[in-house]
Subunit: 248 residues, 2 copies
């Protein structure tokens, strides 16, 4: 079942202010997220469609197969997206960071499950209302399509990574990619926060927790990274990239 933390709705949950609801005008990830496609004059109306919701770590936002009542825009925190096989095997298909959108498909039902890895802040939209709004705003529709296309591209890269790369290459690529994503949202690309567990990383890279752990140790020995509380520090980003053996 899908358990959505109700949060404290529509009061006191702006990213930066204390007593107002989220204000798009001051949103730190607006330009990075789908909202960046909206003209300032559309923003107010769009804003009224959403509610800002706070979600505690480990809480499930939605589950694969559930009726897709809402779509979400992540503004803070990390969300894991995954699929489960009936016998309990899990494949994490992605981690959503601030600026990422959940429910791109606009389908009647969710195609994956999602739960909060950290405490998370999202802008939550009623899906049907969101879709109606899209119909009137082709630029937003176009932006959403760009996001979906980007996700498709990431998914295909991940297929390549999982299918055709060694454990070491997968872990190196994971850290390198995460570093780049953090940089794009204005965080350090060197001190990489790893809020997700080793098990999460394993299920993302299609490895076991033991292999992930051993591979981290190997990267430490090779002086490519240092393990620090809450994450890793990249010592040799280039070396990591070489090890990943992806593209160019």
């Amino acid at each position: 079942m899908s358990v959505l933390m109700p949060g404290l709705i529509h009061a006191g949950h702006d990213c930066t202010h204390g007593k107002m609801d989220h204000v798009c005008a001051t949103c730190q990830v607006r330009e990075l997220s789908i909202c960046g496609a909206l003209e300032p004059e559309s923003l107010a109306a769009f804003e009224r469609l959403s509610r800002t919701v706070e979600i505690d770590a480990k809480i499930t936002l939605f589950t694969e197969g559930d009726r897709a009542s809402h779509v979400f825009n992540v503004t803070r925190g990390v969300v894991r997206l995954y699929k489960m096989s009936p016998d309990g095997r899990r494949q994490i298909v992605g981690f959503a960071l601030p600026g990422d959108f959940l429910g791109l498909a606009l389908h009647e039902s969710y195609g994956v499950s999602a739960d909060a890895v950290t405490h998370v802040t999202v802008c939550k939209f009623v899906r049907t209302a969101f879709v109606s709004y899209l119909d009137e705003h082709p630029r937003l529709m176009r932006r959403l399509h760009e996001f979906a296309s980007h996700e498709l591209s990431l998914a295909r890269d991940q297929m390549m990574l999982i299918g055709r790369h060694t454990a070491e290459e997968r872990v190196a690529a994971f850290l390198f990619n995460l570093s780049e994503r953090y940089q794009r949202i204005g965080e350090s690309g060197v001190h990489i926060q790893l809020p997700m567990s080793r098990q999460d990383i394993a299920d993302f890279l299609a490895l076991t927790i033991e292999t992930v752990s051993r591979t981290f140790s190997k990267l430490v020995k090779a002086k490519l990274i240092v393990i620090v509380p809450e994450g890793v520090r990249l010592l040799d980003s280039d070396g990591l990239h070489k090890l990943a053996r992806v593209d160019v």
Copy 2:
């Protein structure tokens, strides 16, 4: 480099007629493809945007990273979409069948490479013209987005398959899924054509050619399939589905 077979353009290559160009009105896969979103009165204008092109087996339509000059609608034949790593490892990310669209992302450059597995017929559009047309036809844009979402969903299923399933499960799922796709486009779901080589199947399922071959043999011994010229015949579709261990 991208080698696009010029084909015999704009003459004599309709799916069903001999002397006219492709006519959408008589296209067998129109309802299944993005064109199904168009009102009959838009169809004529849309049709003028495209050229019907015939492409021989093994010819490359486009290569990852190339400037995306065109987008394509497959009307006949099978196309493989893939990524290569610099050291020659290949991951096929999908097989496009009639009704499928190539270039969903509408990006400046192609995100994957594509080549014809069989002789292929496509409706070929200049990308920029196609995008302009989209801007005027929100329903088509919406349809394209649905196609992209569907592809994303398939890519994630494939991540799960490659990452968390055994060789036997992967091959069983491959045959079962192909059977369902063939049925949807009105072909037999029992006599499954396998125009792609064992190497292609291996690169799609992230296995080796030897493992694919051995697994086929195992399925034959288990009386789930029979290998016939050009493909396989499913003897026990349910058994295959059970073996695949996907979803429900």
